[in-house]
């Protein structure tokens, strides 16, 4: 995988996520564009590059959220493991594959985020007390919204696949 192209994608997708999210949100649920990039990398890249690439996307997202650090890195690492196991059995460029993988990846991420919210609810400030635990409705809306966008976003990314050199590493028999 060409890491320069990867970093440009990561930069753009995190920038768009923090810049566009409030304008495309539906009932408070904004789509997770970074997750779509994670699915794209996990579906197409060689195993080791995909694992590291997805983990780093999560790490980058952790740096620009108020969530506990490590949460997205951990989630996207698991997503990468999940998607990589399906690499051989799915038709990578089919919109239905994009939808179903984004849905599964979103559900996994949402489950981790909800579990984290329940185990470690936010601490209220400036008054004392515990914050409200996150509701599942908004998270599920976000998952569905992201999955519906997946065929469009991944369809666009598919056209730029050659820029990432996903197959170069495989032919030479090394990860990157």
């Amino acid at each position: 995988m060409r890491w320069f192209s990867y970093f440009i994608l990561a930069y753009l997708v995190v920038g768009l996520q923090i810049g566009l999210a409030p304008y495309v949100a539906y009932h408070g649920a904004a789509p997770n564009l970074v997750l779509l990039a994670v699915v794209f990398i996990a579906v197409n890249a060689p195993r080791d590059a995909a694992l590291l690439g997805c983990f780093m996307l999560g790490f980058l997202q952790d740096l620009v959220t108020q969530q506990q650090p490590g949460l997205f890195a951990f989630s996207y690492g698991l997503v990468a493991l999940l998607v990589l196991n399906t690499q051989q059995v799915v038709y990578k460029d089919h919109p239905l594959t994009h939808f179903s993988l984004a849905l599964a990846a979103g559900l996994l991420t949402a489950a981790i985020i909800l579990a984290h919210g329940w185990l470690r609810p936010p601490v209220l400030k400036p008054v004392d007390g515990r914050g409200v635990r996150p509701g599942a409705t908004t998270e599920l809306t976000r998952v569905l919204y992201t999955a519906l966008l997946a065929p469009i976003v991944l369809g666009v990314l598919k056209r730029a696949k050659t820029l990432f050199g996903f197959h170069g590493g495989r032919r030479k028999g090394r990860a990157w």
Binding site: V14, G15, G28, T65, V127
Partner: protein
């Protein structure tokens, strides 16, 4: 030859991130977390500007769903508000004159604040915004963030490359408030003690400590007194009444009641949902209160 394989490194990274996310308390981790928001502003800000332009054209003025007032009524209320502002300004001036020390403390809120640009919204599922103000601008953790229309939130994390503001609608934000109503032309404080309003995410806040009887409703959400109606109703305002907040913030608008229901799991308690007056996630700039006097 080293037996270390890539997947060993990956699983160590995963274990570390899992430990940091689930086991280590947030207040320890936050200290070492770098803030890099400003690096993304070349993409995030133009994207936000485009988003703002498109939504402004497609949405027009956002009118709350429960706001059925006609234009003349709104104009009349505006006039009443102007009168009220004038009255309050005169009152503040009088108090300043009477108490010189207090006079130093108050003054226009804007003078105590530093204007800073908003870079973008939270990339995760929390209600926060990234701002371009940094520790070099004198911004510190827990400083309050305001706009002319009311309270925005509180600085959660500060770094040399940007800061993060937790919005009033974030589940980690709570503040004591009191309820107010504009009854025709007059501002009326509702007979309810100050209560904690806390964020519940998705752009909303909620008050859950009051029983339905406290706000004049029965278990079926019908008014106890059919003539006087409920004590709190949709459209009422909430404003800060919290000793923990700096004096210039007292009385600042926090939001407006949009829905009253009964609390899940405690049917005799009210769940009063409140929304900020403006969409806090779409603000182009905010003011950080860097001084309290």
């Amino acid at each position: 030859m080293s037996q270390l394989r890539f997947h060993h490194v990956f699983y160590v990274l995963m274990a570390l991130s899992g430990i940091v996310a689930f086991l280590i308390p947030g207040r320890f981790v936050e200290r070492y977390q770098p803030r890099i928001e400003i690096l993304f502003s070349p993409v995030a800000r133009p994207a936000g500007v485009v988003g703002r332009m498109i939504t402004r054209r497609t949405e027009g003025t956002v009118v709350p769903a429960n706001d059925h007032r006609l234009d003349p009524e709104v104009r009349a209320e505006n006039e009443a508000l102007r009168g009220e502002v004038m009255r309050l300004n005169a009152r503040v001036a009088e108090l300043n004159r009477q108490q010189n020390e207090l006079g130093k403390l108050t003054g226009a809120l804007r003078e105590l604040c530093k204007v800073t640009k908003v870079i973008g919204f939270d990339s995760g599922n929390r209600d926060s915004i990234s701002i371009s103000g940094t520790s070099f601008d004198g911004i510190k953790q827990d400083m309050y963030v305001v706009i002319n229309g009311g309270l925005v939130g509180q600085v959660a994390r500060v770094g040399s490359l940007g800061s993060q503001v937790k919005l009033v609608t974030d589940p980690a934000f709570g503040v004591r408030v009191k309820f107010l109503r504009f009854d025709k032309e007059f501002l009326m404080q509702l007979p309810i003690a100050a209560v904690v309003v806390q964020g519940i995410g998705a752009g909303r806040m909620s008050v859950t400590q009051l029983s339905l009887a406290n706000i004049g409703l029965d278990a079926n959400l019908k008014p106890l007194d059919a003539v006087a109606g409920p004590i709190v109703k949709e459209g009422d305002y909430v404003q800060i009444d919290d000793n923990e907040c700096p004096a210039p913030l007292q009385g600042l608008k926090v939001g407006r009641v949009v829905k009253i229901g009964s609390r899940r799991g405690a049917r005799l308690y009210a769940d009063i949902q409140i929304e900020p007056i403006t969409n806090l996630q779409r603000l182009p700039e905010v003011m950080v209160m860097t001084r309290e006097r």
